[in-house]
């Protein structure tokens, strides 16, 4: 077997007229965390669903731990643990009963089942609530249990589809730390997110997706280099102005401008030189700038650079 846990080659998926995935290819090495980063609707979840053998690809091929998703889906399913985006638990059963049931679905029995349930409960910090019904849990606790179920059979690869959506910062921190721990223990992680910070913190490699395609691939540093020495400036003004967007686009040293909820995101050559020009233009139009934030190049800037939009769009 090669060193690659996952190999994806020219994957396509369409739903009639709608093309959800268009020619996606990537490899994931064993023992690394690989993130698919992109806004909602980029095709991340569809790719994950194909990797989980929930959807058949229209064309293309993928293997997980050497098992083809087309030829040997059962082999793939044994090798992976899937954390779905939505919480998928039995709310009227206890945490322990949920773990026991899902463990059995992976063939675990007897003492081994009990040991694994103890281990994952400890890992996600729910040992003291194991006998409580799941519908009495907070959203964050349910998210943690949602992850624990996928780890019951100690899979080679864990596939996580936006596991931190809609939870409090404390639970989010807990989950991210767990992902790192799993990886340190040698587990391969395929992670999807639209949070740039998560991809940046966790990933060995990142594929940025948009409109069903991978538009950039590499390590965090490699991707950031795509925007060169450009800075990102976030400007907030008191009221929305259609004119200011067009005027700022024309300012010397500005490469990209996009706006969302009253904030303007600009990619500029050198923020020290460009910022006074932006203020001058705003003054000429009678627009007052209420806040300024200058950011070092990051994945958000990369996405803006590549698409002209922010990851939140």
């Amino acid at each position: 077997m090669s060193n690659q846990a996952i190999q994806v080659h020219d994957l396509h998926k369409d739903f009639g007229e709608v093309y959800a995935v268009k020619g996606v290819s990537f490899d994931v090495n064993q023992g690394e965390i690989f993130s698919l980063l992109g806004p909602n609707g980029a095709g991340k979840s569809t790719t994950i669903s194909i990797m989980s053998c929930l959807l058949e690809p229209t064309s293309g091929e993928a293997t997980v731990m050497g098992h083809s998703i087309k030829q040997d889906p059962m082999g793939v399913k044994k090798a992976i643990g899937v954390v779905p985006q939505e919480i998928a638990l039995y709310p009227d059963l206890s945490a322990r009963e949920n773990l026991n049931f899902w463990g059995k679905m992976y063939g675990l029995r007897g003492d081994h089942l009990a040991e694994r349930a103890d281990a994952v409960l400890e890992m996600v910090g729910l040992s003291d609530r194991q006998k409580s019904r799941v519908d009495t849990f907070s959203g964050g606790m349910q998210r943690r249990l949602n992850i624990a179920l996928a780890l019951m059979h100690n899979p080679d690869v864990v596939i996580m589809d936006e596991p931190t959506v809609g939870i409090d910062p404390q639970s989010r921190r807990h989950i991210l730390d767990n992902v790192k721990r799993l990886n340190e223990d040698g587990m391969t992680v395929l992670y999807t997110t639209h949070y740039m910070e998560e991809a940046q913190e966790l990933s060995d490699h990142i594929a940025i997706m948009d409109h069903g395609e991978i538009i950039a691939f590499g390590t965090n540093d490699e991707l950031v280099k795509l925007v060169g020495e450009q800075d990102r400036i976030d400007l907030t003004i008191d009221f929305h102005s259609d004119d200011i967007l067009e005027h700022w686009k024309g300012v010397d040293g500005v490469h990209r401008v996009s706006t969302e909820d009253g904030t303007y995101y600009l990619l500029v050559e050198d923020s020290n030189l460009v910022l006074p020009r932006l203020f001058d233009t705003a003054n000429e139009l009678g627009v007052r700038i209420s806040s300024v934030e200058i950011q070092e190049p990051n994945l958000e800037a990369v996405f803006l650079h590549l698409t002209g939009r922010t990851l939140r769009d």
Binding site: P84, L93, K104
Partner: protein
Amino acid sequence: MKKLIDLALKDLRRAFSNIFGVVMMLGAPFLITGLIYFAFGGVAGGDDSFNLQPIRAQIVNLDAGITGFNAGEQLSDFLLSDSVSRIVDATRVESEAEARIAVDEQVADIAVLIPSGFTADAVGNQAEASITLYQDPTLTLAPQIMRDLISQFTDGFAGAKIATDIVQAQFESRGLTLSQEENQAVANRYAEQLQSGGHDHETQTASGIKVVQPGSGTEAEQGGVYIGPVMAGMMIFFVFFMGANGAQSIIIEDEEGTLQRLFTTPTPRGTILGGKLIAVVLILIFQTAVLLIASGLLFDIQWGEPLAAFLASLSMILAAAGFGVFVMSLVKSTRQTGPILGGVLTVTGMLGGLFTTGIPDVPAFLDRAKLAMPQGWALEIWQRVLAGASLEMILTPFAVLIAIGVVFFSIGVLIFRRRFA
């Protein structure tokens, strides 16, 4: 196989932790049947807490009889016997006028006037035997009960007459004739057969209708005869309800996301759907067993021959499970399941005759129309089993119910497989 059982056990665990489901599974059928039972019947087992006032009846027998046989006298003796004394407080009077006066003066509720030619008409070929009931016009229940008692008694004579006619026709076709004494012997033989037709006090007519011989059996047993079909109707309705309710778990799990998650485990989809079907069948087996046993104890319902009752239960359960899977396969979300469970099952149950089992003399076309519904076939088999039908007599509804279960289940599974492909 282990996974199949694990899946079924998980669904059972969830089903029995759902209070609404348990109430609909067991509580509702008993509640409705119990209300009907206590409203129109009495507490079984000799409890005197509910007492219907006996009907005060004046019996006038003017029947002359023929060749030593007097049907009017036998009817009089029956109405005056201890076996019906809790229902009828009968007094024998000599003249029709005296009896009519007793009713007019409300000393009696009803007068039973047996005419002089009653026996002759009953066994002869020309006239139809009739009895006059002279009643207090303000009464409704007492005359109805009296009519039923007399009808049951005279049915025996009608049967004897048919028997002798058939025997006579057979002899005549061979150029032989029967004397009046020989005809009488045939009628007596028929009566003996009727008395010992496989049970101590009840037997089976060709049409499968239960004939209770007046004067035999306990009050509780007689109550069971009437409440049995009502309980059967309720049981069928709620078994079909639970069949669909159980199959609803597929829709619920789809919405909870756990079905999709199950599909990511190394468990074949057929096993997942199979486990769910097993859970539905086990729930229905439990429900049916509890309803049959408990209703037997509470309402003294005699559910017929054990093997026949078992086959009726089995076929009903399979039909209900298959129908439930089919109905739920047409549902897109749990928001639609309320109208489906409440509407479709109620309407099909109604057309299947489940809510009219306590109504006597249902028009023949309605009785036939019920067979357009799966529930109608379930009712048909239970009516036959309650009437003490033999295995041969329940074979047709048994086969139809099994076919209904298989066909609906296959269609339902096909639809589900397409949806989750």
